[in-house]
Subunit: 204 residues, 4 copies
Amino acid sequence: MKKPKEGKRQQIIAAAVKIFSQNGYHNTKMEEIAAEAEIGKGTIYEYFSSKISLFQSVIEDGLKYYHAKFDADKMKILPFDEYIKVLMEAHIKFYLANKELTRMLFLEKEAPDKELLEWAIEVHSTRVEIIKERILKSIERREIRSLDPSILSYVIQATIASFCVPIIVEDKSLDPQYYAERYSDIIMNGIRYKEAEMPRGGGV
Amino acid sequence: MKKPKEGKRQQIIAAAVKIFSQNGYHNTKMEEIAAEAEIGKGTIYEYFSSKISLFQSVIEDGLKYYHAKFDADKMKILPFDEYIKVLMEAHIKFYLANKELTRMLFLEKEAPDKELLEWAIEVHSTRVEIIKERILKSIERREIRSLDPSILSYVIQATIASFCVPIIVEDKSLDPQYYAERYSDIIMNGIRYKEAEMPRGGGV
Amino acid sequence: MKKPKEGKRQQIIAAAVKIFSQNGYHNTKMEEIAAEAEIGKGTIYEYFSSKISLFQSVIEDGLKYYHAKFDADKMKILPFDEYIKVLMEAHIKFYLANKELTRMLFLEKEAPDKELLEWAIEVHSTRVEIIKERILKSIERREIRSLDPSILSYVIQATIASFCVPIIVEDKSLDPQYYAERYSDIIMNGIRYKEAEMPRGGGV
Amino acid sequence: MKKPKEGKRQQIIAAAVKIFSQNGYHNTKMEEIAAEAEIGKGTIYEYFSSKISLFQSVIEDGLKYYHAKFDADKMKILPFDEYIKVLMEAHIKFYLANKELTRMLFLEKEAPDKELLEWAIEVHSTRVEIIKERILKSIERREIRSLDPSILSYVIQATIASFCVPIIVEDKSLDPQYYAERYSDIIMNGIRYKEAEMPRGGGV
DNA sequence: CATGAATGAGACTTCATTCAT
DNA sequence: CATGAATGAAGTCTCATTCAT
């Protein structure tokens, strides 16, 4: 049943994601990961040079997987309101499907060293930048009104992240489509009361 | 000059906030806190029974201070758009004025034990509930349109929190008034382009 | 109510006997003794230079008190069977009247350092020697038959000590006269069954 | 050659007996035991969960070994005078052969916690009870005269224990047979001088 | 004299990492 | 390659002792 080389690396990563996400970096023992992966403690060191290195690999792997899911090209052609709706729906789906990984990425602040923390900040900046560019383009296209792109980028970024809380903390199971529509509606149309308000959202 | 018991407690708390916020719970040694407070290692144990207990006290003290700043009564009379603008502005000011404390509260997820984590979740829930109630009242008053209050509450909560990132991570110095205005404008009016768009910048 | 100089020394000794006998040397904190004596922690150091020194003083004081009770002169004139009966009875009475002190002296083996242990051994040797001399004299006087005095001395010493166990450990309340009579009967007459056995209870 | 798990446990126990018996529980450092066992400090914790747990294991192991030596069945058939002689001889031999263990068991009063102390008392009671039963049977059989069995049991128990003193404290080397005969002679026949006294014991 | 806040040496214990098998 | 017994650096916490008040 023992899988060959690359399989074992993945086996360890999977075990590490589970245990790290449950207990955090410092409360996780190498032995626990080994037990979860059903291998010997020493074997981990055949694949990862240290605990911190394993943690980094887990995060990197996770983000690689995350980014693979959101390869922005197919979204580029969408109009902005569709774009953020799809972005949000995709994120909710991702969070629901990868709770453990999400928990890890979300709690990545418990960064065990400066280097990793800086790297995490950089990753975050990149995401903000990508959204900012899209915003600029959409303003040009008159899809959205002229706004400070930094602020809007933060708002969108934060709103997407806010889905995590009910999912990973309260362990709720959100309906991706419903929530994506509500959220993007708020962002696109605002919340101010309008006299001749039409029945909102729903069936598009 | 010796024996200002309460003074020394605060001295320790202050040192702990600084070191914990810099290094996180697990990377902080009691000795470092003692050095920062310019006292002996053992002295900390005269005031706090353990490292975890010190951490909890620091968080509790911080939140007490935080809540004292946002005693909601004075905000209640404001119309909703003013309400979130003031809320936002106050938070940015607080973040800027208390970077270290904010860093701690924001990273409180690195909770070193389950009990503290649960308590942190509860605190978060309370904040969400308060905003939710305000939302319900504002819908009744037709200040804002009829929306799922949970969702809106999450969005507001998350967005306010998101302004921590540039401040505590990137160490930027945001202009509270400017950002609060932009932010409340987005939330209130949405971002969609409108033909006859008025010059933005809220009703000020 | 504060007593003058010498009174406070005794106050500390009394508190120390109580706490040491309850918890043993290493499980006793100077603070506990201070609390029991209703004085400040630092005050103990006005009268005793260190914890170990206090312990030694307590033992010395206790033994001085013990020896004062057994000033052997008045026993010298007694015949041997009376001598051990009186010795035994006096010891049981002493144990009952001074349970805490007895507990300390009996557990003095938890000697916190070599020096004190050696001194305790010496004290024990002295007691054995005194009994041995009495034995030699009694053999000369044909009160008792010719026996190895060392052995007999150990037997007597150990048996007297053995009555500590029910008193200080099981907290029983022995009848001194009854036990002393039975005990001396055993030592004097042996336990072997004799055909024409006289009703037992010594020659009284 | 590596991995004889049970062997290493014994190695640690042996080292612990030596160091504990020399220095007592509180004056023994885990590092010393490790050094004596020629292993690393952490290795002890692979076999024993804590210092107190190691101490308990040492005592338990020692008593198990002790009781194995005195499985009373073979002694039951002996007449009482033979019984106590054999009992004493066996004990002296055991004490001489296991000085360090004896020192530990004898000083077990330095019990580091209440639980262990209570257990020690119980063990002691059991030993006293066993002797008491033998006494009752011997009185029935008219091997010994009618005596208070509690007192006699204490006397015998104490006498046996008294051998420890010269052996473990003064480090003397007693001749087991000689001393057992002398002691049992005292117990059986008493010490009172008798006119027609026969030359006692000795050369047999 | 009396005090108790402050101190820091020192002990236990954990756990990432190594390496002989 | 795989293992897990062994290791020891490092961190938390205790408590006898000091000394400024």
